[in-house]
Symmetry: C2
Subunit: 139 residues, 2 copies
Amino acid sequence: MEDGTSEEPGSCAVTDDDPFQWDARQNCEVRQILDRIADKWSLLVIALLERRTMRFTELKKEIDGVSQRMLTVTLRQLERDGLVHRYVHATVPPRVDYSLTDLGCTLHDTIKPLVAWTETYQEQIISARAAYDRAVATG
Amino acid sequence: MEDGTSEEPGSCAVTDDDPFQWDARQNCEVRQILDRIADKWSLLVIALLERRTMRFTELKKEIDGVSQRMLTVTLRQLERDGLVHRYVHATVPPRVDYSLTDLGCTLHDTIKPLVAWTETYQEQIISARAAYDRAVATG
DNA sequence: CGGTATCCTGCACGATACTG
DNA sequence: CAGTATCGTGCAGGATACCG
């Protein structure tokens, strides 16, 4: 496995007088977890699994563009973090079902507003970009 | 500038009968925006600027670990997306102030619960990882 | 079917040097 | 001070091949 799994026990004690002290530290647990959430595929997997249990191949087909390798890696990370449950049926050919854990569900609920925000303001962002690009082009 | 600025007008029309149709598409605006949010430094910059206007050097000092280049790139992206405002004082030596736009503020408000979630469940995630690693080691 | 193991490549990013 | 421009490189991640 290539994944360095760099862990360094949380060097982030968070002096709690400031709720955003987290931002300045590296190897902060919060940052590690946000990185997972930030991951290109994780969100998609979580969103899909929130609806129903899915098999590996179903996920792969649904998340068009993901390589088999990256889907595997993503699912392993999510499983390791306790966000996704993996059930291997003892059949042949093998069948593996993935589903969200309770923790994964709470995360999904937390993410929903973020997706909603994005949908609400995407037009605004697009026009902001256009305006910026125009300004730059003009000089 | 190295940044490809790959734009492709939103090939994501989002058939709205399914709020999570967004997940399957690439070059979806939602995904592009999430990628920005997901960015390693963007969140930190937004969190810092939500508190007060800051100068370039202040940000650089505060976000320990960021290179000058990456801070510049990050700020430019955020400015282009209309999340951050950049004000250049006509003085010498130059002085540049960064602050959140209204849009940036709404984004920060939306992100807060996510950070809170992370802080709430980080212990649970850490122990989930430990359990997973133990299981793997055991075989 | 649901993975691993291996190789290879692009580009994200750091380091460094220069500038208005 | 607040950037740009240029070069070098590590590693994330795709492509491919093989396996229980």
